[in-house]
């Protein structure tokens, strides 16, 4: 027996709802989040306050938000470019790790007498590391027509293992009591702090700059126009004479470089050394961010801040209320679920069809 419900496309999907959909999804996530807290036997109002309000009640809280949003923005803005061009790079996490490895490798070369000029060199190395990792995907897709979804995803695990191997081997800190981690980076190889008294570093400004540049590129530059055409209508791109291969390489290298910078900033920013887990899944969360942000660079910035809040709120909920930190993942999943549902219901409507049998 089938349900007497059917999804029917709406004749005219509301345009304004395209942006209302993420807002609606956020509100539904909060409501569902409150319900979950109630089921866990906690006061939902108190829980949501810890999750949403407390992180933002101090300057330090805002700085932490910016700090967590930085890698998300960098990854998501790059993914926006890929997804707009119909290139399904879901390996930003791997490109981030590759960036951390390359950037961290250069950072390890710094000595006590090094100058701050080291930082740009580290970030360039991080960008190149991320781009190189993405280039593997681009090459396999270009040369062998390999599916970029699978290849980029699998390369995440390769990057994770490569990092683990390095910090347990050649880069292991001799004075680290056997912990699998590198030595702490020298001061000259650390991200300059943006806001004194907090951990917020220059990386945040770089991330915002990246969002502005990518927006300019997509809206005003020929290359961005070509990316949008190839994503919307590949045949029209061929007709216009835009090279699909070139755009594939461009979008993957750009998003790989941005994810690489995110990895470098994390390594020489808040972490200060290389450890086996350089990222709590920023590269994957950035996929959700890109879609919640409607594949728009500025939307991605807003969505990154929201997602960063989930990370911080999850930590606070754990330390203050004894809630499991897995709540962050649950909230992320809820958000994506509600967003997809809202998007579907904007273009479709549910119809009640008690007896839809053709007579």
């Amino acid at each position: 027996m089938t349900l007497p419900l059917a999804l029917v496309p709406r004749a005219v999907p509301a345009r304004a709802m395209r942006w209302a959909s993420p807002v609606l999804a956020i509100m539904l996530t909060l409501a569902a989040g409150g319900l979950i807290l109630a089921f866990l036997g906690r006061d939902p109002v108190q829980g949501l306050k810890v999750f949403l309000w407390d992180p933002l009640s101090t300057q330090r809280g805002w700085a932490e938000l910016g700090l967590k949003a930085t890698p998300l923005i960098l990854c998501a803005v790059g993914l926006v470019v890929c997804f707009r061009a119909n290139v399904w790079n879901i390996g930003a996490e791997g490109q981030l790790i590759a960036g951390a490895i390359a950037g961290g490798g250069v950072a390890l070369l710094a000595s006590r007498d090094s100058t701050r000029a080291f930082v740009p060199a580290i970030l360039v190395a991080a960008a190149m590391g991320g781009a190189l990792w993405a280039a593997l995907t681009a090459w396999l897709r270009d040369r062998f027509n390999a599916n970029e979804i699978l290849v980029s995803l699998m390369l995440v695990y390769v990057a994770q293992l490569l990092l683990a191997w390095l910090v347990q081997g050649v880069w292991k800190d001799p004075q680290g009591f056997g912990f699998p981690q590198s030595k702490l980076f020298e001061a000259a190889a650390r991200m300059p702090i943006l806001l004194t008294g907090t951990r917020l570093n220059v990386g945040f400004a770089l991330a915002l700059l990246a969002a502005v540049v990518v927006w300019l590129m997509l809206a005003k530059w020929s290359i961005g126009f070509q990316l949008r055409v190839v994503g919307e209508a590949p045949r029209a791109a061929r007709y216009a004479g835009f090279s699909e291969r070139r755009l594939l390489w461009f979008s993957l290298l750009l998003s790989g470089a941005l994810a690489g910078v995110a990895g470098g900033v994390e390594a020489i920013g808040p972490i200060g050394q290389l450890t086996p887990t350089i990222s709590p899944g920023y590269g994957f969360a950035a996929i959700i961010v890109a879609f919640v942000g409607r594949l728009h660079p500025f939307g991605a910035v807003l969505a990154s801040c929201l997602m960063a809040q989930f990370y911080i709120g999850g930590e606070l909920a754990q330390s203050r209320m004894g809630l499991p930190s897995a709540l962050t993942g649950v909230y992320q999943g809820l958000l994506l679920f509600f967003l997809l549902a809202c998007d579907t219901l904007i273009t479709h409507r549910i119809v009640w069809r008690p007896t839809a049998k053709a007579a």
């Binding site: 530059w221 029209a236 007709y239 004479g241």
Partner: protein
């Protein structure tokens, strides 16, 4: 006797337009009723209402005298109504047989394929049921649509401009079939913009204009001119007269061959031809015989070929699409959405698509693009809200005028056009043909691929016929008859090498 199908006061409103305004219409058993109207007159909406795709806001629908609510195509099919769409509703990644199977009650695929082949032979619709839809040309897709509708043994058959892609002989055959179906008691609703077909085929003709029925006439008492006047509300623009004075060879093709390319349906076998400045060369043929490959190769979208292509004497065989455009060779593909234009993009972005000067230096010159778009909309009388309207929101005819305008305005030296007036109403078609003739007078070399023979006879200085990837000898249109061309379309042209 009750009517097979009867509509009373059917009205359908969209946001700011009334597509159908209190339309009443009766179709008797075994009657062939033609619905005539320009694009945007409301024909397609009306047919979609009958087929259950669109729900009317007001009005009543009766089938065999009983009032019905046709809520879905499934309901329509249950009532014995089948439809051949103008815009195809086929699944690209499935085979023809699978596509047909989807529209019918469950039946073993083998039996269905056999039945399909029988019908195909009976109605002279060349198809291969095991082919996948994405490998088919527009013409082949239409044949599948017709066949699919016939497979359901309908009592009411709706056809939306079904003949525009058929060979003359096949049109004869289709008309014979429709006549037979009518004699068997099937009611036929036939949408066409070809006035001569309506005159020949229809028992009754309903003329729509601006969503209203403006006349219901007996076509036997009308002429093409009188029908056109009713439809447009004025006399159609006349086609400008020809005068031929061709110049130097502009485009020259030698031993063009794609048999090394993998896909068989794109095989071209050693084609030789040339086009002079100030000359229109027409290429006739049932689509799916290599025309798509020929255009792709000439435009530079495919470079996997043998032989040489010369433009103004220079070898451009390996030159990219953009490079050819820079030299003055422009192309208007047959598919508007997804090929010639990006559906979700506003018109202004669709101008940027092929007008390279608006992208010069890596920056989009949006001010200039907007001005050019407004000029094109105005000059080519495109019905659009403005430069920001998306390409997908325009009617087929308007979008075609826009695309033709975009390419013509760039003053091409060589123009390739595929199906210039496919699905376009009489007024717009005449406008587009006049633009092509004006361009030819200005010295442009033009290649027109079309399945509309009337159009080719009207436009061409020289005519070729394409069949199975081969090209017939060139012929002057006035020296050959329609029936002869029809035979050539099956590849039966004289084998003499004299061109």
């Amino acid at each position: 006797m009750t009517d097979r199908l009867s509509l009373h006061g059917v009205t359908k409103r969209y946001a700011d337009v009334i597509a159908n305004d209190a339309i009443s219409l009766q179709v008797g058993a075994g009657e062939i009723v033609a619905v005539l109207g320009e694009n945007g007159a409301g024909k397609s909406t009306l047919m979609k209402i009958v087929y259950g795709v669109v729900r009317p806001d007001e009005g009543r629908v009766f089938v065999d005298g009983r009032e019905v609510v046709i809520g879905s195509p499934a309901k329509a099919r249950a009532l014995g109504i089948s439809m051949v769409f103008q815009h195809f509703a086929l699944f690209d990644s499935l085979t023809l047989a699978e596509n047909v199977a989807l529209a019918l009650p469950p039946e073993p695929l083998k039996a269905l394929t056999a039945r399909m082949q029988q019908l195909a032979v009976r109605y002279d619709l060349e198809i291969d049921p095991s082919k996948r839809v994405h490998d088919l040309s527009v013409g082949e897709r239409q044949r599948v649509e017709i066949l699919r509708a016939l497979m359901a043994s309908p009592r009411i058959l709706i056809l939306d401009e079904p003949t525009s892609v058929l060979k003359p002989q096949a049109i004869e055959q289709l008309f014979k079939t429709l006549g037979q179906l009518a004699a068997d008691g099937v009611s036929v609703l036939f949408i066409s913009h070809k006035l001569d077909e309506i005159l020949r085929l229809a028992h009754r003709c309903v003329v729509l204009r601006g969503g209203r029925v403006v006349a219901t006439v007996d076509p036997r008492r009308e002429s093409e001119a009188s029908l056109a006047r009713m439809m447009i509300g004025a006399d159609p623009p006349a086609i400008a007269a020809h005068d031929s004075s061709p110049g130097e060879v502009a485009l020259d093709v030698k031993r063009l061959d794609t048999t090394r390319a993998i896909e068989r349906q794109h095989w071209l076998h050693g084609l030789d031809f040339s086009v002079r400045h100030g000359e229109i060369v027409g290429i006739a043929g049932v689509s799916g015989n290599g025309q798509a490959a020929l255009m792709a190769v000439l435009a530079g979208e495919r470079l996997d070929l043998d032989g040489t292509i010369r433009l103004f004497g220079d070898d451009i065989t390996r030159l990219s699409t953009g490079g050819r455009r820079m030299l003055g060779l422009r192309y208007i593909p047959e598919e508007r959405l997804g090929h010639a234009a990006v559906s979700a993009f506003p018109l202004v972005d669709n101008v940027v698509l092929t007008r390279d000067e608006l992208r010069a230096g890596g920056l989009i010159r949006s001010g200039a693009a907007r001005r050019l778009t407004s000029t094109l909309i105005e000059h080519f009388r495109v019905k659009a809200r403005g430069p920001e309207a998306t390409a997908g929101s325009l009617s087929g005819g308007s979008l075609q005028k826009f695309i033709v305008g975009r390419e013509i305005d760039a003053q091409p030296k060589v123009l390739l056009v595929s199906q210039p007036t496919w699905g376009v109403d009489v007024g717009a078609a005449a406008a587009i043909r006049n633009e092509l003739i004006a361009l030819r007078r200005a010295g442009c070399a033009i290649v027109v691929v079309s399945e509309d023979l009337d159009e080719l006879f009207e436009l061409s200085d020289w005519l070729f016929v394409m069949s199975k990837g081969r090209l017939s000898p060139a012929v002057r249109p006035r020296e050959i008859g329609v029936q002869e061309i029809g035979r050539w379309m099956s590849g039966l042209w004289p084998q003499s090498e004299a061109l």
